[in-house]
Structures are given as C-alpha cells and as structure tokens.
C-alpha cells in the first residue's frame, strides 16, 4: 500500500488509530491542505513562488494580443457521474463521503444506559426536507457491571501480548495490508477497490465515532489500574470498537466484491469470505489483547460494521439492506467475542437473532431493495467490481 493512499497512522484513515487526523481531511498531501491547494498537480511545482513567478513571466513573454474569435466551449454536464473520472481521488472522496454521510442521522435516548439509533434516509422524492427515515442500527450500551466483569478477559488476554505485539502495533492504523494477504488488492491492479474501501472506512468512522460519542462507554483503563494497555488508549469511547467496526466493514465489502464477481473460486464454498472474517475478528480481538477494548465492544463493533457494509453495498448497487440491533443490556459478561454468532460468511447473511446466557443481544433483519442507489457511489462500485471479474480463458483478445 502506498503512503499516498493509506498513509501513516496519522493519515487519512487514521480514524482507525483514533489519533484522528482523519476528520480534518488534513493528511492527504504533504502540505496538509485538502482540496485545491494540494500538491496533487502532476507538475511537481505546487504553489512555489518561483513557479508562480515563472508562470507570470512566461505569460508576459508569449501571451500576445487578445484573440477575438475563440470557438465556444460546451457547458459542463451538471450532476453527472461522467465528471468523476476527471476528478482527483481526493475530490471524489469528498463526493462519496457526502453521498453516504448525508444518508444517515443519529438520535440518542438515555434511560438506564444510552441507546443510540442510526437512521437511514429513504428516498421518498426528490424534494429536500420530505424524507422518511428508517432504523438502520440501534445500539444500547450494557451496564457498568458487564464491563467490570469483562475485565477478567483483559487479564487473560494480556498474557498473550508477547505473541501479538507485532500485530497490534501494525494494526493501529488501517490494517489494509493484512487484507491484502487474503484478497489480491494492489494500487495498480485494484485502484477503485481501494477507493471503495477508503470510502467505506471514512463512512464507518463517521458513524462509529458518533455512536461512541453518544454511548460514552468508558475504556478498560478507567475501570482498573492493572490493565496497563500496551498502546495508548484512544480518547473516544470503548463501545462499539472502531477497529471491530472498520475491520468488519472492510472484510464484508471485499467479500461482496469477490462474491459478486462471478469468479468461480470466490463464489462457491465461501472460503475467502470465512478467511476475511477470521482476519477481521483477529484484528478486533487484538485490541482486547492490547488492553484497550472489552470483548463486548468487539461484538457491538461487528454488528455495526457488518450492517454498515450492507448499507454501503445497497447505496452502491440498489440491492437489499440489513438493519440490526445490539442490545447491550442482554449481553452476558461471560461471553467472549465470537463473530460466528452474528454472521455466516458463505451466505453473506447476518443471523436474525443472537442469543447468549442472558438473552437475545443482537438482531438483524433483511429488507427488500427500494431500487435507489447513489449515482456517484454506483459509478465507483461498478469500476471496483470490474476489477474482480476474472478473464475468460475462452475469450482471448
């Protein structure tokens, strides 16, 4: 992965690390400025006073007398995906982010613990302000007792830090390279897939940070002085785990691209999907090993991530979507994180109901497609999807 795309922990997807340069859009270029000022020009001479002076003197030297017979240009094509091709990736990122971010809202209800509901906007008609909202993810934080009891998991997991140190440190930033060990992703081979993933991660972060803020769940370090995490504890809330959310978003998005590519080895048996989810789970669990998350945070994060991935897929393709509930009040403190309770990779389906010793703690419901898709996202998805379609040996060029 190039630094340009996935950067350092402070980089564009730094939300992963929670050190958070993400929100500021700041880290795209060396000058830190997003958009027009950026160093994206291919000349390699951005905003240099020397270059500007040179452009001025060059013009002075060659501009000539004003022309009066320049042929008319066509006007631009408004609101058309054709334009996307000619935009820089960074500009496109803003377009995609807007398309997704504007589709969701969040409300919070505080009773015994907080319940945050992420709503999705339904495309009822084209007039602003006349939208209907439906529940996408409802998440209720468990009570403090669950977290206090789950501290024992952190004690157990801490003993395997010696084994997981390298993974944990490598996964502070977006662990895309780990996914590259399972799926053939490369900037040269699959540039649009990388854009899809970047878009999905940005959106996941947009939602998960709001969810964490709403639920305000304390980190392990605040519940015991003996956790002693092996990395800095991020300042945002513990549940849902952002790493779990983003890891499962990424795993499921990649899996959907593979699954819908028609490529035989991806389509049957679900091997790639299973491996991608095992990886996502490992990344999530590593945060418990590190001492910055409870297992229940990963369970909530996986519910959120799997659901958001399906939502993004719907926005890109107009196919069906899934809504989900995480009922923290029913989560048993003795339950470790186990993604198999939530999702079947082979079928790409979330379980309708997940029950533990203290009751049903997760629910999911599939919804029919309503036919709408976000045009810019659909453009991007199609390009990414094409990157996964295998060539037919019988149809040589």
């Amino acid at each position: 992965m190039t630094a340009e795309i996935f950067g350092s922990p402070q980089g564009a997807y730094g939300a992963y690390g929670a050190y958070g340069a993400y929100g500021a859009y700041g880290a795209y270029g060396p000058n830190g400025a997003y958009g027009a000022y950026g160093a994206y020009g291919s000349f390699g001479l951005p905003e240099s006073p020397v270059a500007a002076e040179a452009f001025v003197t060059t013009r002075d030297g060659i501009v000539g007398a004003p022309l009066d017979n320049i042929p008319s240009a066509r006007p631009g094509v408004p609101n058309d995906v054709q334009n996307l091709q000619r935009l820089s990736r960074e500009v496109r990122a803003a377009i995609f982010a807007f398309e997704l971010n504007s589709k969701v809202e969040l409300t919070v209800d505080v009773k015994e613990t907080a319940t945050a509901t992420l709503w999705r906007r339904e495309e009822e008609n084209k007039h602003r302000g006349r939208h209907k909202y439906r529940e996408l993810v409802e998440m209720t934080a468990p009570g403090m007792g669950v977290f206090e009891k789950q501290l024992s998991f952190l004690t157990g997991y801490a003993d395997i830090r010696q084994d997981r140190g390298a993974e944990i440190l490598s996964q502070i930033a977006a662990p895309v390279p780990f996914y590259q060990t399972i799926s053939f992703i490369d900037p040269a081979r699959t540039p649009y897939t990388l854009e899809v993933l970047a878009t999905a991660l940005r959106f996941a972060n947009h939602c998960e940070q709001q969810m964490k803020y709403a639920l305000a769940v304390k980190r392990p370090i605040e519940l015991s002085p003996q956790v002693q995490p092996m990395i800095a504890t991020p300042t945002h809330g513990s549940l849902p785990s952002g790493h779990a959310t983003e890891a499962f978003v990424m795993a499921r998005i990649i899996w959907k691209l593979m699954l819908h590519s028609g490529t035989p080895q991806y389509k049957s048996h679900g091997h790639w999907g299973e491996m991608l989810m095992r990886l996502a789970s490992r990344i999530a669990i590593n945060r418990t090993v590190a001492g910055v998350h409870f297992p229940v945070d990963s369970s909530a994060g996986a519910v959120l991530g799997l659901t958001l991935a399906d939502f993004i897929f719907e926005q890109c393709t107009g196919k069906g979507w899934t809504s989900a509930k995480f009922k923290g009040q029913n989560y048993s403190p003795s339950s470790d994180f186990d993604w198999h309770q939530l999702y079947v990779a082979k079928d790409d389906k979330q379980h309708r109901k997940t029950e533990g010793p203290d009751g049903v703690w997760a629910k999911a419901k599939e919804h029919e497609a309503n036919g709408h898709k976000a045009p810019a996202l659909a453009w991007l998805w199609d390009k990414a999807q094409a990157e996964w379609v295998d060539f037919d040996p019988c149809e040589t060029a």
């Binding site: 789950q150 024992s152 998991f153 004690t155 157990g156 997991y157 003993d159 395997i160 010696q162 084994d163 048996h269 679900g270 091997h271 999907g273 299973e274 491996m275 095992r278 669990i285 003795s334 470790d336 186990d338 198999h340 079947v344 990779a345 082979k346």
Partner: protein, 673 residues
C-alpha cells in the same frame, strides 16, 4: 534488616517431605485462598479405600480421591502405590509426618486447586475395550497446552486421531460426572466440536479450544495454546503427527493436558500430583485398546524435566513412571523422556572430601533479586542402609549479610530457621531421611522469595548465600551431591520465579575462544559441575532418555544435560549412566530448534531442547515396539547402530549414551505396517 537464626528440632513429629513441610509453613501459602490442594502420596501396605476411610474418619470432607481410581484400584492391596489426591491443608499436614496412622510414607504437595475445578460427584466410568486395526500402536502424551485440533492429529478435515484427551485445567462437565478434575474428551466429542465450529471448511480453533476447555480467557487464565508456539502441540506433532493425506489409522493418540499453573511452578514438586493423575487416566485408557483380543502396545512421551531428586534411579518420579509402565502386565508400554536442558545451568554441585585436611567445601548460591518464588537447594547424602545412617557432614548457611547459622548435621530432626526483624521465617535448613529404596539423608535449604507484590510477605535477601559443608563421618570416595531446584518461570507464565545458581569463582564458563564450555574441564576441582545434571525425572531403569544434538555442528547441544548418576561405592549401582541416545534438538546454532506443529492448524514453528529430541525417538519406537522382544532401551541402542548420526568424537557417553540417532521426520509418510 537484621536476620537471626534459631535452632530447634522438628520434635516428635518428624516431617516426611521437607519441601511440603516448609511450603505448609510458608507465609506465601497463607495468602492463597484455596479450599483444596492437589498432592501425591505413596501408600505402603494400605489400600486406597482403607486410606480414604481412615482420613475421612478424622477429617470429614477433607479428602477427595479422584474417580480415575476405580473400585478395583481402591481395593487392590499393594506393597506400595502412588495415589494422586485432593486434600485440605490440615489433612496434608497430618499425612506429612513419619509414622502417621494412614499408611502414607511419602507426600508431595501440588498446587492450589479451586473448588470449581473439582467434581465431587464423579464416579469411575466404565471403560469398554476398543478395537483397533492391526499394527496399531497407541501414542501417549502428557504436556501443557496440546493443540489436538491441529491437522497433524486429524485423520481428515472432520475426523480426529485423538481417541482421548484429558483436560485437567478446566471446570468439570457436571452433566457427565466421569472425572474429578477437569474434563475428558473422547474422539466422538472432539469430532462433534470440529463439526460444530467449522464454517466453509475452516475450523474456528479459538472457539474449539475455549469450548473444549483448554482456553478460558474469561477466567483470566493463561493457556499456552493461546500462543503461537505451545510446547505440547509441537512435541506431539513430532511423536504422533501425520498429515491427514497419509490416512494413518494405526497411531491413535491419547493425551492429557496438565494445568498450566503447575507448569508455572517449575520447582517440579507441584507437578507430581497432576502427572500422577494424568498417568492414571492414560493408563486406564491405554488398556482399552485391543487388536484380536490382545492389548495394543503403548508409547508415551513426557517431555518434562527437573533438576532435583536423588539422581540414582530411586526418585519418586522415576518410581512413579516405573509403576505406570508396569501397571498393565498385558500391555507392552514404552516411554521416552528428555535428558534435560540444565547442562550449563550451574545447578549441580559435587562435594568430595578426598584430600586429607580438606575441612570445608563452600558453595556460593546466587539468589536473584525479583525472584517471586521460593528457592530450594538439596544436599543428598551418600546411600546408607544402616540405622541410623552415618552423620556424614554438617552444614551451615550464611545469608548475604550474615549471620552464619549454627550447624545442621545429617541427623534426624536437625533444623535451623532464619527469621527477619518481625520474626517471620525467611529460610529453613532442615534434615530429612528419604527411606529405601533411596536410603539417603537430605539436607534442604528453603529460601523464601526475594520479591513480592503482596504486603507483609516475608522476603529473603538476594545475593550470595554461602553454603558451607564440613566433613564428619564420610569416606574419601563418598560424595555429597547438591542440586538447586528448578524454579525459573517461563515467559508468559506466572508467578515470576528466577533461577538461583551456584556462582563459585572456580567454575569456568567459557573456553579459549569464548564459546560456552559444554563439559567440565579436565582436572577441574570446582565443586560446581556440568556432569550429573541429567533431569531428576530421567534416572529410572525403563524409560528411554534422549539428549539433543545440533545437526549442523554435529555436536551435542550446549544445554543437553549430562550423566553420570549418583553412585555410592559398594552400594547398588544406578540403572543408567546418562541418556540412552541423542536425537536432533537443533538444526544449527543459528537455526535453533526443529520445526513442528504450531498451536493452530496450518502453522509450523521452531522449538528446541531435549524436549523435542525425545518425541522423535518415541515416533521411531512406535514402529518397532510390536516386534521387539527385549527392552525399549535395548531397542534404542540397536536403533542407534542402524541409524547412526555421527557426532564429533569428543561427544561424551555420559551426554549421548549409545550415540546420535538419525530419525527422518516425514508427516506425509504412513507408519510402516
């Protein structure tokens, strides 16, 4: 801090086992909030049932005899037998005294065992015979953290070659009531777990091990199987691993997972009760396997070792292993053990007062700071079958800043205790006598931890402890053999012991080119020796004991421990002179260790030590056991000749026995039929 010695005798209640005695008195034990302790006892002329009845009469609800002993075992009358029990502290205190009324002649304290790990309702299970294919050999394994789901132990993606697995360190399955401690899994149960936790042909092994009892992170409990590299998995891969494609059906596996907290206490003493229980469980299982009505042979590998013990073939562990090997006369049983890795550990001293005028030999014991476990030094007297035995030597001990203790003679009841300012015991020097067949006096120095996070823990000073030994009634050819018990805590394990060692200035550690010296220099008079470091478990007559060599350099690996065993002239000779043979323990000095199974399917990792050499021999032995008419050790001597690995000529027989053996490990090849 001012320390003060006080002299006293043990009085009429003479303790049997010095370490059990000092542990029961130790402050550290008082801090453990435990209902039950595991222990191994040796009964003389008493049935288990009689013992149980007598103890329960005096201590109602103070004893639990595991269900692994069935009614026949309980009523069998034997001269001597080892039994693993769970008991409360007052019971253990009562048992650990000479002349107790319960028929107990040996006691070894194990470890605190939570009530939740025990099932009081467990009853002996009925074990029906199991038919196997011809040429079958049952492969046994006792270790910590055994990754039974690794593909090397599977017959196919859905089926396992593991017939039985006892998981001691877990909560019992109270719906079954078949085992007192932990759980036992049979083939069908393992396969059911495999089926239940497989999605898209991939087994979720984290789930497999947490549901089948080996991993319980919610309990804050460490399991080596959570790590990439686990001792038991790796070693079982060498002894009994086959690629599923090989479709090997004649090497079924039975195994037992020891509690990791036992493993964490590498002083070894606490290992015995769990080992004793594991052997009983496996012995019962092994006897079930038949072909054509005949019992199928059984090869057990146990890759553990320890520094302590009399090292003369009579240690409790070696007698326990002998007892196990002979337990079913109808079944041929062989066993492999590692020689031990303590060659350079500086944990063995040999004191001989052959020079006239030599009136004292001093051993400098380096006790490290931040040592969270007790340190123990054993001074074994020469063999003596007369009563009372001669008063061979007297011993004094001086802690780092004094004062020197009064003498402790080799006389029953002799004891010196070191106290701190607050009167708490921080060290004990104590004489006990280990009866026949050992027939040796033993002076034990027990030193409390030098560091602790607990408040009010009595702490011993770290630094140089001087152990002075003065000759008394000892002949010039007789020797006092001294061992520091192993208490190093392996990385990742609790409780943080650091190994004490002898730091005498005369010990030459390195040769002229800076490499470690693997053998004692000739003419060396230093009392600290590499010779005689052979594992204290490996001194028995029947097991095949295996040393480790480094393949590339054709030398014995530096750590590979050495014989000879302890021998007092004019007394019965020990049953061996060192290991029987050496096998590959390292590929080269750089590529240390050998490859075998990692903790999860599809992974292969390196591990070294005599621990990995022993199972190589076990694998080879399983091909020969059925047709070999003589002993296992005879077979190994012969196998070395047939498959020699040429070691450099200076390889000493006390380190390599009959020599190096080359054993090719090919998981894809079926065992010869």
């Amino acid at each position: 801090m001012v320390f003060k010695w006080s002299g006293s005798t043990t009085g009429d209640r003479v303790p049997i086992d010095a370490i059990t005695y000092t542990r029961l008195l130790s402050d550290s034990l008082a801090f453990l909030d435990a209902d039950w302790w595991s222990a191994m006892i040796e009964l003389k002329d008493t049935t288990i049932a009689d013992f149980e009845t007598k103890v329960l009469e005096e201590f109602p609800e103070g004893l639990l005899v595991p269900a692994a002993y069935d009614n026949a075992d309980r009523s069998a009358s034997k001269d001597r037998q080892f039994v693993s029990i769970f008991a409360r502290i007052p019971v253990l205190d009562a048992l650990n005294h000479k002349g107790n009324a319960f028929g107990v002649i040996n006691v070894h304290l194990g470890l605190a065992t939570p009530e939740t790990w025990l099932n009081h309702e467990a009853q002996p299970a009925e074990l029906k015979p199991i038919d196997l294919s011809s040429k079958s050999v049952v492969m046994g394994m006792i270790d910590d953290g055994i990754g039974v789901a690794h593909e090397l132990f599977r017959a196919s993606r859905d089926t396992t070659r593991v017939e039985f697995c006892a998981v001691l360190p877990t909560q019992p399955d109270k719906t079954r009531n078949d085992v007192t401690q932990g759980r036992s899994l049979n083939k069908e149960e393992i396969e059911k777990y495999i089926e239940d936790f497989t999605w898209s042909d991939l087994l979720d092994e984290d789930l497999f091990y947490s549901r089948s009892g080996q991993i319980d992170l919610a309990a804050g409990k460490f399991s080596p199987i959570s790590l990439r590299r686990s001792h038991g998995t790796h070693i079982m891969g060498i002894s009994a691993g086959f690629d599923p494609e090989a479709e090997e059906d004649a090497r079924p596996i039975i195994c037992s997972v020891l509690p990791p907290r036992v493993v964490a206490d590498t002083s070894g003493i606490s290992l015995l009760p769990a080992l004793c229980l594991a052997l009983q469980l496996l012995s019962k299982q092994a006897s079930r396997y038949r072909h054509g009505g005949e019992r199928v042979p059984f090869v057990l590998n146990f890759s553990y070792g320890n520094f302590s013990g009399p090292h003369d073939g009579t240690s409790e562990v070696s007698r326990l292993l002998e007892y196990f090997l002979a337990q079913d006369p109808e079944q041929k049983r062989w066993m492999t053990l590692p020689a031990g890795n303590g060659n350079l550990a500086r944990c063995h001293g040999q004191l001989q007062f052959s020079d006239a005028g030599c009136d004292e030999i001093v051993l400098d014991l380096r006790v490290l700071p931040d040592d969270n476990t007790s340190s123990h030094v054993e001074l074994w007297m020469p063999y003596a079958d007369d009563t009372p035995p001669p008063d061979f030597v007297s011993v004094t001990v001086t802690p780092p800043f004094g004062p020197e203790s009064a003498v402790v003679d080799a006389r029953e009841g002799q004891k010196q205790t070191l106290h701190d300012d607050n009167g708490r015991v921080i060290a004990t020097l104590l004489y006990t006598f280990e009866p026949a067949p050992t027939a040796r006096g033993l002076i034990t120095l027990a030193i409390e931890p030098t560091a602790s996070l607990r408040p009010n823990q009595a702490l011993a000073p770290s630094g140089r402890w001087k152990i002075s030994v003065q000759p008394k009634d000892i002949a010039p050819e007789q020797k006092i053999e001294v061992w520091v018990r192993r208490d190093e805590t392996l990385p990742g394990y609790r409780p943080g012991g650091r190994q004490s060692f002898f730091d005498n200035g005369c010990y030459e550690r390195f040769g002229p080119f800076g490499a470690p010296l693997p053998v004692d220099p000739s003419g060396d008079t230093c009392p600290v020796r590499r010779a005689g470091t052979l594992s204290g478990f490996a001194d028995g007559p029947s097991p095949m004991v295996v040393a480790a060599y480094t393949e590339k350099t054709r030398q014995l690996s530096y750590y590979s421990a050495a014989g000879p065993l302890t021998h007092t002239p004019m007394t019965p000779p020990p049953p061996r002179n060192g290991p029987d043979a050496s096998a590959e323990g390292d590929r080269s000095l750089v590529r240390w260790g050998v490859l075998s199974a990692g903790s999860r399917s599809g992974s292969y990792v390196r591990m070294n030590g005599t621990s990995v050499a022993a199972p190589r021999v076990a694998r080879k032995a399983s091909d020969a056991i059925a047709d070999w008419s003589s002993s296992a050790r005879d077979w190994l001597a012969c196998a070395v000749k047939e498959n020699p690995f040429d070691l450099s000529p200076d390889a000493n027989a006390t380190r390599t026995g009959h020599g190096g053996i080359k054993i090719h490990l090919d998981w894809k090849r079926r065992a010869p039929k």
